[in-house]
């Protein structure tokens, strides 16, 4: 794993958005209190760069020119991403320990932890192309700005 290009930021993806299914109102209230306290604690410690819940309606786009637009993923799925958090952490171990403290893990949510990169791995595999691509991107932007003026 190339850690030189990591940004000190880690993406936490919370999967399994329907974890509240089967909880009584009291259990849900208690769970939400713990979740809010967890977020507030992290936020006060300056660990959260951004975090958002995601709505359940989603679309999956695939195929050339995105010609296939399907509904999905389904919120009932344990794989569906229910929300994300961009965490500031010293290293992957710290990010993992923070992720492990997420209260919803007790209710079936799983948390994926991914280092955020400054540069795409695909670009990393082809560094010779990146320089030329950058030049083309700058040219394209200049054309765009000129056209919009």
């Amino acid at each position: 794993m190339n850690t030189e290009t990591t940004t000190g930021e880690y993406m936490l993806l919370f999967r399994g958005p329907h974890w509240d299914r089967g909880l009584t109102p009291d259990q849900l209230q208690q769970a939400m209190d713990k979740v809010m306290a967890w977020f507030e604690g992290l936020n006060e410690g300056g660990k959260i760069k951004s975090a958002q819940p995601l709505g359940t309606q989603g679309r999956i786009i695939s195929g050339t020119n995105g010609r296939f637009v399907l509904d999905g993923p389904f919120a009932e799925s344990k794989e569906a991403v229910g929300g994300y958090l961009v965490l500031r952490a010293a290293n992957l171990n710290e990010a993992v320990e923070i992720a492990r403290s997420m209260p919803t893990l007790s209710y079936g949510v799983s948390v994926e932890v991914r280092p955020i990169l400054a540069e795409c791995p695909i670009f990393q595999r082809h560094p010779d192309l990146v320089q030329r691509a950058r030049e083309r991107a700058i040219q394209a932007e200049q054309l765009w700005v000129a056209a919009a003026a």
């Binding site: 958005p17 849900l28 893990l105 695909i122």
Partner: protein, 139 residues
């Protein structure tokens, strides 16, 4: 006279599949790489994308009451999330139109479009329950 609504909605584009570049010719790769960078820069210049990042192929997955830590997701996967863009656009239709521009699509990349929720739906459900309780108490 045109009145433009300033109301915007936030959407996340999740780029799924991180091996679609394998098997591309150098010429195809160069085109995809430069098209993708130009796409990102253009969306930012238009104020439609406020940010985006690629994600390291490998990471960890934590699950269960024991908070077991496993390696994952599997690096070579059509499902793995390789990166994201955060969009602020007029509506879902616009988010979908932007997603369709992704240069990786013709090589097998998949784009998931998700609305950013104002509030977690579970938090809303918890709130509804306590509202009902309050209503019951005063009835």
């Amino acid at each position: 006279m045109s009145t433009t609504s300033t109301a915007k909605s936030d959407y996340l584009l999740l780029f799924r599949g991180n091996v679609w570049d394998r098997g591309l010719s150098p010429a195809q790769l160069q085109k995809v790489v430069s098209d993708w960078m130009a796409w990102f820069e253009r969306l930012k210049a238009e104020g439609k994308c406020v940010g985006g990042n690629p994600l390291e192929d490998e990471g960890k997955v934590i699950s269960g009451k024991q908070r077991t830590v496993a390696d994952g997701p599997f690096a070579e996967s059509k499902e793995a999330i390789g990166g994201y863009f955060y969009l602020t656009v007029a509506d879902e239709m616009e988010a979908i139109e932007i997603a369709k521009q992704c240069p990786g699509l013709e090589y097998g990349s998949v784009v998931e479009v998700r609305p950013v929720a104002d509030e977690c739906s579970i938090k809303q459900r918890a709130q509804e329950y306590s509202n009902h309780e309050l209503a019951g108490a005063t009835a």
